[in-house]
């Protein structure tokens, strides 16, 4: 019942972009069946040497390569076949390979999503489905946001709304989604900061963000393999000025291209491995990061009926 093919590739973003999508499960067209809990650990490594200072691509000899490790626990639960709840939270460490700045570490944000599939119907040669996903995220600890690029996150509480469409013919599919992320203001440890002007407050206005995600590939009960294009755009914010440090309310944009796979190891689909990676192909005020991840998922069945069988191991939508 491993419907959670997910990646936390987005964690890499958080380091410099900070939108809190953790599990790409919230961006895929797969639902857990009723009373099934899919849960597991995930590891992700992300690093960048070059970054965009505004739109200018550069390196920084006093930072070197910035890397991060993220250890997450993620899961999805089927309230019913059309309504799922997803969650995830990472522990993150960061490090700079040059200069004196100390890396940071800590538990970052909890992300929660409700995923609803109101429509699933035959259309032409395949199946069309539509999803709405609502999400919230908030920091679990009092970690430091204002120490970029070594902060583990941006601390902003978010509310997100997403519309997603999926079309599958046999084992080939394409999924597209658009998301708007509302970001709450944050507070930092100092009482004054400069953006395009001086602000005497410890509160920082965080621009909202939007995300476009397109994915396509092969999907069956046993294996999912897909290519993913993702474009995160901050709706506002300011550019890093020449030789300045990044700031949480920068206009951080990134387009990444990557691949994901999920493979069901066991015959009854209770255990799966997931993995993948992505690289940044365009950006602004962000590191040009490359990310690799891998994880395990285990399915627990809380339904009163008998334990999972091969028939209900198919993604619900393809049943």
């Amino acid at each position: 019942m491993l419907k959670l093919k997910t990646t936390i590739a987005m964690i890499a973003f958080v380091l410099l972009a900070g939108h809190t999508t953790l599990a790409q499960t919230d961006m895929d067209a797969i639902m857990m069946s009723k009373k099934q809990l899919c849960i597991g650990p995930m590891y992700s490594y992300s690093s960048w040497k070059n970054y965009w200072e505004g739109t200018l691509k550069r390196e920084n000899l006093n930072i070197g390569t910035v890397s991060s490790n993220a250890y997450s626990l993620m899961g999805a639960y089927g309230i019913n076949n059309k309504l799922n709840v997803l969650f995830g939270a990472p522990y993150i460490t960061t490090k700079a390979s040059a200069g004196t700045l100390k890396g940071m570490s800590g538990i970052q944000d909890l992300s929660l999503f409700v995923k609803w599939m109101p429509i699933e119907k035959e259309a032409g040669p395949g199946t069309f489905s539509m999803y709405t996903i609502g999400g919230v995220s908030f920091p679990l600890t009092n970690y430091v946001a204002d120490f970029l690029p070594l902060s583990i996150g941006l601390r902003s509480k978010t509310v997100s709304a997403r519309l997603m469409l999926d079309y599958q013919v046999n084992n080939l599919f394409v999924t597209a989604s658009g998301t708007y992320v509302f970001r709450d203001n944050i507070t930092i440890d100092r009482t004054s900061y400069y953006t395009n002007y001086l602000i005497q407050s410890n509160e920082v206005q965080m621009p909202d963000g939007s995300n476009l995600n397109v994915r396509a590939g092969y999907r069956s009960g046993k294996l999912i393999a897909e290519a993913v294009l993702n474009k995160w755009t901050t709706q506002g914010g300011f550019d890093i000025t020449r030789n300045n440090m990044p700031f949480p309310s920068n206009r951080m944009n990134a387009t990444t291209l990557g691949v994901n796979f999920k493979y069901n190891v066991t015959k009854n689909h209770t255990l799966a491995i997931v993995g993948g990676g992505n690289t940044t192909i365009a950006g602004r005020n962000m590191g040009q990061s490359t990310t690799y991840y891998g994880g395990l998922f285990y399915v627990l069945d809380f339904s009163p009926k008998q334990k999972s069988t091969s028939t209900n191991n198919q993604p619900a939508k393809t049943n």
Binding site: T100, W116, V144, N185, Y197, S201, N243
Partner: protein, 515 residues
Amino acid sequence: MKKILLSALVVSAAVFFASSCSKEVISLTDDTAALQPANQDLNAGTWKPILLTAPTDIVVAAPIATNTPEYRAQINEIKSFQHNLTAQEKTLVKYWSAGAVLRWNEILRELVAKHNLAPYQKDDGTYPFPDAANPLAYPQFPFANPPYAARAYAYVTASQYDALVAAWHYKTLYNRKAPYNVDSSLQVLVPKNTLPSYPSEDAVVAGAAVEMLKLLFPGDQDYIQLKAEEHKRARIIAGANVRSDIEAGEALGRAVAQKFVARARTDRAGAAAGNQALWTKLEEDTKARGETPWISQESPKRPPMLPAFGKVKTFLMDSVTAVSLRPGPPPSTSSQQFKIETEEVYQMVKNTDREKIRIVHFWADGVSTATPPGHWDAIAAEDFIGKNYSEVRWARNMALLNMSLMDAAIVCWDTKNTYFNPRPSQVDPRIKTLTGLPNFPSYISGHSTFSGAAATILGHLIPERANAYEAMAKEASLSRLYGGIHYRSDCETGLVVGKNVGNYAIERARTDGGE
């Protein structure tokens, strides 16, 4: 179809709900009430100026009488402005009514923050220097680092103070009433008072600032002139000044500031960056004493920040006295004490906690900030607002604070470049830092010296806050140890040296006629 509609409705409702929350951040002084001085300090024309020999050094001509057609025309100008007040004009009046010295201090802090960025290296690995003659070319002039900023704050506030002392002299000499006290039918948008309005204290402050900033921030003239125009207009719109009040005040402010500009051009700050010969000499002299010299840990190696700033002319004391405030040497880099202190820094960072990081970042005042002197100006301004000072007292107290901060920078930089000792992370590469590593020698801590000086003079000016200022200074000082960039002795000695500098400001405060 129904489900699609429902989904669309849910999404748009969520969007509407979330976007209806206002996220606008209110700055600390956005809503500061109009300045309504408890005491107009009518004797301030007799206070001791800093550079002027007498308040009459600059001649201000007698104003036209209030019963002349010319004066009447100026009253009518106010009325015509007020006839069609726009929302933007009302905002301007409100903004500037909070106080002229306050607002120009904030503008200066903003300019410092904008320009507090170290230049990026050239292709050959050397660093370019900002050029005052070509301020908008990269790297823009100035690099408003802490010593530069300390000097800027001091000159601007000191020139404003001298210009206001002269203004108060002429106010009491000519005793021309404010327009609303001449024409009672005039609408007034700010609190009324009985202070003679010729020359305008607001225009004096703006004029002095504009003239000083031509030298200090030559590439930002468009912004500065715009602010000055708005300031002057706000006072006319408000009915607080007629045009001749403004013009006389502005001319006086500019003329007084020109004397400070002349001083600034010859105060040796222009040579503070030094040259390769000096940088090498500082290093070699330190080795010759048997000590480990400071070496830049930036890549590529950057020359030390303004190593000859210690030679700049002080405001509160003569240069011989300034040198006498230099403390004895730090623990030798080969001593046991040095090893112990280095280990303490390592342990401090290794075992840091959230509260210590908060303190480090609260006081960091690094890149793209108003610097530690600007932070202390902000602390002072917040308290001065509550005191309802007259503009002349605002300027006096700001000048006392900022002359202390500039002289603290001078004594501190003299000390740093006399001993030229290494940062903790240079001698122990295990030491990582929780804030940016400053690119100049360690002993003594600049933050500690600034904070010691600021807390001392502020504690004199507002005695009931003396303990609070001292606690802040201690915290600012220790923040540098917590951050992994200073040894304890840098911090402790820095505080003492700062206090000694601050005492010279107290000495001046006691004898300048203001208390």
